[in-house]
């Protein structure tokens, strides 16, 4: 089960993920990102501090947007992951594809530098 909250800060869309993302709840993540893109945001911050688990399907959602973001010049930074979730990202090699920050402050800094 996942609960997704969205709020806007300094022109960036902050998507907070609370709970676990598996194959079925990954659809909600996909919808949330699609909605943010649809609303015209070019800066997306994904708050993973309350994300307890993410399955490969959930990671696939992030992956599926990489190309689109590059084309549309949309920047996305993930931050606040716990060790377990970070490890999942690391094993699959996503650290090299996605921008991942420690906390919100760092993430905001990173998104402006991108």
């Amino acid at each position: 089960m996942i609960h997704i909250k969205r709020l806007q800060e300094d022109g960036a869309d902050v998507i907070a993920l609370i709970g676990e993302i598996d194959a079925s709840s990954s659809i909600e993540l996909d919808l949330a990102i699609a909605k943010s893109v649809g609303e015209g945001f070019t800066k997306i911050l994904v708050d993973c501090s309350s994300l307890e688990y993410i399955s490969s399907a959930g990671l696939g959602v992030f992956m599926s947007y990489i190309e689109e973001f590059k084309d549309k010049n949309i920047k996305m930074v993930l931050f606040g992951m716990n060790e377990k979730v970070a490890n999942t990202f690391e094993i699959l090699g996503l650290y090299e594809l996605l921008t991942i920050g420690k906390d919100k402050v760092q993430a905001k800094k990173m998104i402006n530098e991108l």
């Binding site: 996909d30 992956m63 990489i66 999942t88 094993i91 699959l92 090699g93 996503l94 090299e96 594809l97």
Partner: protein, 692 residues
């Protein structure tokens, strides 16, 4: 058998008591006529009569009340037949009397008494038979109170028999007469109240009602005949002042019975007579019930959608005597599907078009929730044979999914009653359609399950039965998937005398698509690996191939190894798969080989090459390589804690000196111990290589 014996016994007792009655009564009449004191007490015939009544009473109780198969007409028929026999017998006696002429014999009180007793026996038999039959009719739909009432009546009658036997029978004594009148009035009132129970009449159809009328009429005739014959015989006996005989007129039981049987017969006759004109309505109602049943049954018997709707239309048309009907159902958001009955699709569509042109709300306007009679709008449509239309919205779970329309060629052909009936049909239609859809869904689900089973078999068959063998290393592999179809894959392939290729892969997602991607991975492995390809090149090519197969968001993590026994070297490349757990026997150390590499399908262009590394290491005897999928490290215990990398390391260290097969068994056992359940929620896959 026992019941049969009892009825026979009772019948015999009846015959014997009747004969006894005959002799005793005649003897009393003879004596009193001759003016001498009778040899037997005068109350004896009365008591014997009561015994006769009792035996007949129980005889019919057993015969009629225990017979389950008798229907209403059978009962009436039995009563009629008994009455017929009694009357014919009595008439035959009259004929004999007539033939003998007015001689001294025929006017002798003993002869008259003989006739009287025979007639009395026949009459009582007929009355008790009718009493038992009427009892069944009255108690056809019994309530607690009705049953109590009846018991009071029946036991009251039996007590009257006892009272009668005690000898207070003389009408002449004032006290006896008062009691007599009071008791008789009491029973007549009870009989009147009980005769109000005529529920069985409603269950007769038109034909049965006519039969019943005839049978009842004849029964009433027999009763009248019997009553007058008895009365006249009794009166002629009365003329002999000194003669004492068993007078039925003083007998409360017999008199009450005559009254009750007559009242109920007349009531039934009248009720049936006045019910005749409304019979068709009841039959109609009954047909409705049967029709409803047909609809619900048609769904259970797995008939096709068309035939279910056809039955629905047919039954609603026949119930309200309509000429045609159609059912319009929402198939998707825009499309409407029409099922017609006795009307062509074109005619139906013309009417729909006409009504929508006229901007009529209600008939096919899905927004309206009211049933409307729209006949007046139809009058304006030229070229249509229909002059009345009635339309009903159909709801499934509160959502309007279509319309049921009924048509008549007659103008103003539908009345309010019909509107009500058809609205019930529309409700039933909603239920039928919902049931039908649920059934379809269930079947579909069943099909999916079957397909999933096939996918699982396919997936299992993709995994190798036999792994490559080599004198430099041993391999053991294990894969167990959860209920769903998993996407774990491992394989081995010997490319030449010195080299063996190994792969372990995990397809993202689950289910049939995962199994498909797994089979693609197998194809890629077997086509690329046989050319002694370098691991990093393998990954680049595999990625390139998969770009065209994997849908958006899907990817495959994999690690590919080439073991070269000539150089004692392992070359490998990791594409986002779980890091290999490696045990160095020489130093007795253990480590995860963490190096760079992203999963296949994540980057879908040439730049993927930048994200993949080629690695190699020398192996030594005793070294162990544990390959696994994330199902192992992410296995959870009851508290939700994961198995994790540290536990995996620990488990390997416990059995580092064992053969790969034993290491594997130990690992799996530990996993099940940890998760404390037999039902795994992910795929467990390991491949363990031990070098020699």
């Amino acid at each position: 058998m026992r019941a049969k014996a009892i009825t026979r016994l009772l019948f015999s007792v009846g015959v014997i008591t009747w004969l006894a009655l005959l002799f005793t009564d005649i003897s009393v009449v003879f004596s009193t006529n001759a003016g001498i004191k009778p040899d037997i007490p005068v109350w004896v015939p009365n008591v014997i009569l009561n015994l006769f009544i009792l035996s007949l009473f129980y005889y019919y109780k057993f015969k009629i009340e225990r017979d389950e198969v008798l229907n209403f007409i059978d009962l009436l028929w039995r009563v009629f037949a008994t009455g017929l026999v009694a009357t014919v017998f009595s008439l035959a006696l009259k004929l004999v009397e007539y033939l003998l002429g007015s001689t001294k014999l025929t006017t002798h009180p003993v002869f008259i008494d003989l006739l009287y007793v025979i007639n009395l026996g026949l009459m009582i038999g007929f009355l008790i038979m009718a009493f038992s039959a009427w009892k069944r009719l009255i108690l056809y739909q019994k309530s607690k109170w009705l049953l109590r009432f009846w018991n009071v009546f029946e036991w009251g009658l039996l007590l009257a028999l006892v009272y009668n036997s005690l000898g207070f029978t003389s009408i002449d004594s004032g006290f006896g007469q008062n009691i007599h009148v009071i008791l008789l009035t009491f029973f007549v009132i009870l009989a009147l109240v009980l005769s109000g129970n005529m529920k069985w009449v409603a269950y007769l159809n038109f034909r049965q009602k006519w039969t019943s009328l005839l049978l009842l009429l004849l029964t009433i005739f027999y009763l009248l005949y019997g009553f007058f014959t008895m009365s006249s015989l009794a009166e002629s006996l009365d003329t002999y002042a000194t003669v004492l005989f068993t007078d039925h007129r003083a007998h409360i039981f017999v008199m009450s019975l005559i009254t009750f049987v007559s009242i109920y017969s007349i009531f039934s006759f009248l009720v049936i007579l006045f019910n005749l004109p409304t019979t068709s309505v009841f039959e109609q109602k009954l047909e409705e019930v049967v029709n409803f049943q047909r609809i619900s049954q048609s769904i259970q018997t797995e008939q096709s959608e068309d035939s279910v709707y056809n039955i629905l239309l047919e039954t609603s048309v026949s119930t309200v005597f309509a000429d045609a009907a159609w059912l319009e159902l929402k198939e998707s958001d825009r499309e409407m599907k029409i099922f017609t009955y006795k009307i062509t699709d074109k005619e139906a569509r013309d009417i729909i078009q006409h009504l929508s042109d006229q901007n009529v709300k209600g008939v096919l306007d899905q927004g309206s929730d009211k049933t409307k009679n729209l006949s007046k709008h139809l009058a304006a449509l030229k070229g249509s044979r229909f002059r009345s239309i009635l339309a009903f919205p159909i709801y499934v779970k509160g959502e309007n999914i279509g319309t049921l329309a009924l048509l008549k060629e007659l103008a103003d052909g539908f009345n309010k009653e019909m509107t009500k009936i058809v609205s019930t049909f529309a409700n039933q239609a909603g239920i039928s359609i919902e049931n039908f859809r649920l059934m379809e869904e269930a079947l579909q689900n069943e099909r999916y399950k079957e397909e999933l089973k096939i996918a699982k078999t396919v997936q299992k068959s993709l995994l190798p039965d036999v792994l490559e063998k080599d004198d430099d290393f041993d391999i053991a592999a294990f894969s167990e998937s959860a209920d769903e179809v998993g996407g774990d894959y491992y394989d081995t392939l010997r490319t030449n005398g010195n080299e063996v290729s190994l792969i372990i892969a995990d397809v993202s997602g689950k289910g049939t698509t995962a199994a498909f991607h797994m089979s693609q991975m197998k194809g890629i492995f077997h086509s690329l690996a046989q050319d002694c390809i370098e691991p990093d090149l393998f990954m680049k090519r595999a990625n390139q191939a998969l770009v065209y197969c994997l849908e958006r968001g899907s990817f495959i993590s994999a690690t590919f190894f080439v073991i070269n026994k000539e150089q004692k070297k392992v070359r490998y490349s990791r594409a986002g798969h779980c890091p290999v757990l490696y045990y160095h026997a020489a130093t007795d150390t253990i480590e995860y080989l963490k190096d760079k590499g992203i999963a296949l399908g994540m980057v879908r262009n040439k730049s993927y090459a930048n994200f993949i590394q080629a690695n190699e290491f020398q192996y030594k005897p005793g070294d162990i390589m544990v390959l696994y999928t994330d199902g192992i490290t992410e296995a959870k215990d009851k508290k939700g804690e994961e198995f994790g990398y540290d536990r995996l390391t620990q488990v390997l260290l416990e059995v580092k000196n064992e053969a790969p097969k034993d290491i594997q068994t130990h690992l799996i056992n530990r996993l099940y111990q940890f998760s404390e359940t037999e039902n795994i929620n992910d795929d467990y896959t390991t491949m363990i290589v031990k070098f020699k």
